[in-house]
Symmetry: C2
Subunit: 224 residues, 2 copies
Amino acid sequence: MSVQFATPSRTQVPLNGLDRDQSARDGLELEGPRTAYARDEEIFGEGEPADFVYQVVSGAVRTYRLLSDGRRQIEEFHFAGDCFGLEAGIERRTTAEALTETVVKAVRRSSLTEKAQDDADMARRLWKLTARDLNRTQDHVLMLGRRSATERVAGFLIDLARRSGATHEVDIPMSRQDIADYLGLTIETVSRTFTQLQGSGYVAIPSCRHIQLSDRQSLLDMCE
Amino acid sequence: MSVQFATPSRTQVPLNGLDRDQSARDGLELEGPRTAYARDEEIFGEGEPADFVYQVVSGAVRTYRLLSDGRRQIEEFHFAGDCFGLEAGIERRTTAEALTETVVKAVRRSSLTEKAQDDADMARRLWKLTARDLNRTQDHVLMLGRRSATERVAGFLIDLARRSGATHEVDIPMSRQDIADYLGLTIETVSRTFTQLQGSGYVAIPSCRHIQLSDRQSLLDMCE
DNA sequence: CGGCCCGTTGAAGCTAATCAATGGCCGTGG
DNA sequence: CCACGGCCATTGATTAGCTTCAACGGGCCG
């Protein structure tokens, strides 16, 4: 269950440099009531009406789809500053859950699309937001279709580092199972690949949720 | 090299029912000069400026990305009525090539985005077009991340049939290599899977470019 | 008729999945 | 404070599925 703040606390959570840049460039800064979600709590579910658009204030979110036999594919992870839940249709195609304790802002989708009716810049922003998602999803396709387990994990680490603004170390807010379901692998393969990357000296793993990219260039080379 | 018609021939190529529906619902009917491309001819290449948006008049197009070692991932096939090349950025992220003898219409991207400046409906259409691409690409991710070779091929046939307006037979305009590079498999696996689907009585393959979906329901069940 | 391209089939190999067990961390309760 | 239990990550052994390497065949075009 969600914890709606009685008085929407306007505590401004500082965005890191990258996110602020993106926001200024062509992103969106939503203003709406904040809601806190516990770890693994559902924000919206597949098939529900897609009435709201969200922006992560703090924490992280996964969006995924399930096959009937339980196989799960995580479409995307969303971090502070990222928008999610901007669907084309009226119905959710994915489920969204908090990875950790997470605060999000929510605004009615209709308020955005109505604003876009007479504000060309808003219309452009909505479009660009979707276009950026499309680009990222296309990268995901290339990853899943044509890359080995090692390349996928290397690419994942590089992407995570880049998005967090760091270059040589990553905090990993999701479980090995989440990573596996994002990369189209099993938890065992992800774990073994981390071990192997460590053995080759490409990364150091002081704890399983914190990884140092000791040889970032080699990791980059693995994903081109 | 491309063959620009001296006098843009306005021979209207009839769209099939599905495409016309989509066009009317939220699609785009571009008006621009027609160009014919030969089989395997490049329409645009990765890294080039993305100045034009295209719509297939007749024939079919593949868009793909290459890794440095030659691995290829086909992002999408485009058939009559489909738009492609509507990039977010100013540079092509994919290469587009004609699968067969193909005629496309082209319009300047700037003419669309300028029109969107004071035409909210045009802005909405551009957005919806991108959103539809995103949905399809997300389906592709699920396919590549979590489905077996058999499920991928079955899903591919169902999708191809649906898009061509047929239900129980498919003309396959692309090579086995194209299918493999779309599904993240090898040509041999695709071929074997077809043979196996035929052996199980799910499909009949009178010729390698024409397949009958003898047991469409079972094929559907394989992709949920 | 001959050669080439594409698709199919066969055999062997390899990558990642599956099955199974162990270890470490953390929270809870004695 | 320490013991226990549960969850998550790691590691090992084996298997399965897909790829790779190789050969063959059929259709099409010169």
